[in-house]
């Protein structure tokens, strides 16, 4: 067709640069785009209908052609039509949107969990395998990835436009979202909730890689200590093992196999021991006193950072036996008393 090479390059660059919608890089993207095009279709149809009516009536009944106006009271039939039809369309949109919403915000069970900690003006990603990233995220293609996110200060919002997912990152509570990348490549990561001075610098890169590349990357960039191991270190240094020894004392319950179980509370309610429960027990222990125990656990608020809490959650997630705790128990109990947290008021 005789278009010169240079012109062709420019056209391609111009086309890709001013695309009308982001690349579809996750399994949910086509469904989101389908709803988007459906709604754009409705908007165009609605707009054309209204423009047709207005322009048509204006030209047909302009003063020159139709000098005397005929008064029309109105017609309940017409009123009914443009109440029922929009309502019908909007309800279809509602159902379709709700299905998509529930699909995005309920992660599948087998998804690989990555923790995201948002703090004023940067993103920290904590992989269970011990990889720590700043303003970056490396994920394998073809596997559902669940992001468990929390903020250390203000509201942020983890937005991946190419994956069509976005979730607010709130201080004080875990929020989750999941996606499954389909095509390898690097994509945008934005913070879309205004969070202060450098809100626009809180951006990053998400790199979707083929599984084997991802495995190679994990080996290269590991910090040598997985989150669970880091959790165990914090568990010991904070003196948790002084009470949670696992043998039948009524000072503190055994934590082996706690994650995922249902815990009977002192006030009779039953709570699911998931990540949020464990985090809240560490920060506000006396609000989650299990049945048969006294509220003697001190609060660790302000002493363990969000990353530390994530490490502890990961540690408890894989803690099935108290064997290692009792092992370290015999060596450390002899020479050092349970460290008292500063600021703790003597009961």
């Amino acid at each position: 067709m005789g278009i010169s090479e240079v012109l062709w390059q420019y056209l391609v660059k111009w086309l890709t640069n001013s695309a009308l919608f982001p690349r579809e890089a996750s399994t949910i993207a086509p469904y989101m785009d389908a709803l988007y095009f459906f709604l754009i279709g409705i908007t165009i149809v609605g707009l054309l209908l209204v423009l047709l009516l207005i322009v048509g009536f204006s030209l047909r009944y302009r003063k020159a052609l139709h000098p005397v106006a005929e008064q029309i009271e109105g017609s309940t039939l017409l009123e009914a039509t443009w109440t029922i039809i929009p309502l019908g369309i909007f309800l279809v949109t509602f159902v379709w949107g709700a299905l998509l919403y529930f699909r995005i915000y309920t992660p599948p069970v087998n998804s690989m969990n990555i923790y995201i900690v948002g703090k004023q003006w940067m993103w920290k990603a904590e992989h269970p395998g011990g990889q720590h990233e700043i303003n970056e995220l490396h994920v394998p293609v073809g596997r559902p990835i669940q992001l468990t996110m929390i903020s250390q200060d203000v509201f942020h919002s983890y937005s991946l436009p190419e994956f069509r997912v976005k979730r607010e990152v709130i201080p004080g509570r875990y929020t989750t979202v999941w996606f499954q990348a389909t095509t390898p490549g690097t994509y945008h990561l934005f913070c879309t909730q205004y969070c202060g001075t450098d809100h626009s610098k809180m951006v990053g890169e998400v790199t979707a890689m083929l599984p084997e590349d991802y495995k190679k990357w994990t080996e290269l960039s590991t910090s040598g200590m997985s989150l669970a191991q880091n959790g165990e270190r914090i568990f010991a240094s904070m003196g948790c093992n002084a009470c949670h020894t696992g043998n039948a004392s009524n000072r503190a319950p055994s934590l082996a196999g706690l994650y995922g179980s249902k815990v009977q509370m002192a006030n009779g309610s039953i709570q699911l021991a998931d990540g949020a429960y464990i985090r809240d027990v560490i920060l506000n222990p006396s609000q989650h006193v299990p049945a048969g125990y006294a509220p003697i656990m001190p609060t660790y608020k302000g002493q363990i950072s969000e990353d530390g809490l994530i490490a502890l959650v990961e540690y408890l997630k894989q803690l099935n036996t108290n064997y290692r705790i009792q092992q370290t128990q015999t060596t450390s109990v002899s020479d050092q008393a349970a460290p008292t947290t500063p600021g703790m008021v003597k009961p």
């Binding site: 009271e73 909007f90 509602f94 998509l100 529930f102």
Partner: protein
């Protein structure tokens, strides 16, 4: 009926006509007569001047934002300054321009006359409302001059309470005070509409302008105090440092979001409903026809007001609210979209079998109908839960609410100002120049905000000082549009000021309209009517007007 086939403008003979000697402007002289007036028409003029002043300050900030976004790099101003720009743009435009503009100017001026009353129920409280508005405006300017505030107009906690040391408390008290101005305006309207209609003026003989202001006033009175308490709590939390919204001390930041949006969504209906009232009047007058389905349009205003209180959580869909409440609020948001659709179609069908002419107010009304349709339908995008995940907090939202607020509300405000300018000042605005301004505004608007829909879906976040280079093409288009829009908004100020002195004499009923306000002299007397009229005809009764002008011609002749 004037013979010309392109306009219904019917001006008196300019050689002999003059602005009537006795009118509300010439009734008293001196600054105090204006600053201590109880006359609703004078207060409307005071509001018009102060609102225009704040509109241009807010507009200046919009211009600065668009200038910064010309380039992907953050190179015009520092990040803090940019954050203060968009916060001030938001606060001034929302609380000091959009909420009061049509109700406080056109509403104040016209509702008593349209109802056949001499004045609003509480003239002194009406004046107090203007002074509270001024106090709110001065406090906002004080916050601006002292160093600005950079929380965004939404004051998201815990950012606004613990992580910023700019003038949050000053701005919060400014909005608290301006909120009371809005409450008192709403209160005045409700009491006047209920208690001061002239004999014969039943609810269904009132103009639709009054209906829409009635609905907006309900929202003002019942919604604004919740904003007042949420800003008070933010102020208390900053001053005493207690933890109502602070997660570290056990507070819940989402509680602020609930209280804030409980007002701020009805606020957008406070902004748009009066605009819809203006459009009903303009479309009916320039197509010489009664509004199609009068009762449907009237009840849809009230339906919007009622449903407006049930939908606020669609601003918080991704903020971790429970899935089940998200479902309920998404469904209710779909329901609140239906009355707007009803109104648009009723206006469109008012044109049918009419005798349509295309003066400036009608051009703005057409602009409103087109742009509000787009704005309204893009709102349905955001009400759909799944779609909201991709679209919230991006430029798609910015485009949506600018389409509804600037494309809808501001077009309606300009349409109303041009439509009632002869009644308010006794002078006609220059027709051709104002038509040009309307077209320039329409083009500038579309050029500014259409690209933002696209860049929004591409993922560009809101309130970003710098953005990835691939969005530059669309942002440059948007900034170009903003300059055209700026010109479009500058023109009316010029020729309307010019018309005060040199405009053609308008006479009582230049548009040959049917409203009570068009049957008295323009500018009206201070007491509006020499004796209280008796309403004996339907709202937009052109046969009655025909009959009335017949008698006048015969009796004089």
């Amino acid at each position: 009926m004037s013979a010309s086939s392109t306009t219904i403008l019917n001006l008196p003979d300019q050689t002999t006509a003059a602005v009537p000697k006795r009118n509300y402007i010439s009734a008293e002289h001196g600054l105090l007569s204006w600053l201590l007036t109880g006359d609703h028409k004078r207060i409307a003029m005071l509001y018009l001047i102060s609102i225009t002043f704040f509109f241009f300050i807010g507009g200046a900030f919009a211009g600065l934002i668009r200038l910064e976004l010309l380039t992907p790099q953050p190179d015009l101003v520092a990040s803090d300054t940019y954050n203060k720009f968009f916060t001030m743009h938001g606060v001034i435009m929302v609380f000091l321009f959009l909420v009061p503009s049509v109700p406080a100017t056109l509403g104040n001026f016209l509702i008593p006359i349209m109802l056949g009353a001499r004045d609003l129920a509480f003239p002194k409280i009406n004046l107090l409302s203007w002074y509270l508005y001024l106090a709110g405006g001065t406090l906002t300017l004080a916050a601006l001059v002292l160093g600005g505030v950079d929380t965004g107009w939404t004051f998201t906690t815990p950012l606004s309470t613990h992580y910023l040391n700019t003038h949050v408390v000053t701005t919060a008290s400014a909005i608290f005070v301006a909120g009371f101005s809005s409450i008192f305006t709403g209160l005045n309207f409700i009491v006047t509409i209920h208690r001061m209609r002239c004999p014969g003026m039943t609810w269904f003989r009132m103009p639709l302008f009054v209906w829409s202001h009635y609905a907006a006033s309900i929202l003002m009175v019942l919604g604004t105090p919740v904003l007042a308490i949420s800003l008070t709590l933010v102020g208390l939390e900053r001053l005493i440092g207690i933890g109502v919204f602070d997660p570290n001390k056990g507070g819940d930041p989402l509680l602020f979001q609930h209280l804030f949006w409980f007002y701020s969504h009805p606020a957008v209906y406070i902004m748009i409903l009066p605009g819809m009232g203006v459009i009903s009047e303009v479309v009916s007058t320039f197509s010489r026809k009664r509004v199609f389905g009068y009762t449907a349009v009237a009840f849809s205003s009230v339906a919007i007001a009622l449903f407006g209180f049930f939908v606020w959580e669609h601003h918080m869909f991704i903020m971790g609210v429970s899935n089940y409440s998200a479902l309920v609020f998404s469904l209710l948001t779909m329901l609140v979209a239906v009355p707007s659709a009803i109104k648009i179609f009723n206006w469109a069908f008012t044109l049918q079998k009419g005798s349509i002419t295309f003066e400036t107010p009608m051009l703005y009304a057409f602009g409103f109908m087109g742009l509000f349709t787009i704005g309204g339908l893009t709102g349905v995008f955001l009400a759909a839960l799944g779609m909201d995940i991709q679209l919230t907090e991006t430029y798609f939202i910015v485009a949506h609410f600018h389409f509804v607020m600037v494309g809808g509300m501001l077009m309606a405000f300009l349409s109303g100002v041009h439509f009632w300018w002869p009644k308010m000042t006794g002078r006609m605005y220059p027709e051709s120049l104002s038509k040009l301004a309307a077209v320039v505004t329409f083009i500038g608007f579309n050029l500014t905000f259409m690209p933002q829909f696209i860049v929004g879906y591409l993922g560009m976040p809101r309130r970003y000082h710098a953005y990835p280079p691939e969005y530059q093409v669309l942002n440059v288009l948007s900034t170009a549009g903003a300059t055209v829009l700026g010109v479009g908004y500058m023109l009316p100020i010029l020729y309307l000021a010019w018309s005060l002195k040199y405009g053609a004499i308008a006479g009582n009923n230049p548009w040959q309209a049917t409203g009570l306000e068009w049957q008295i002299q323009s500018p009206p007397l201070t007491e509006n009517f020499t004796e209280i009229p008796v309403m004996d005809h339907e709202a937009y009764d052109y046969e009655w007007l025909e009959h009335k002008t017949q008698n006048e011609v015969t009796t004089v002749g």
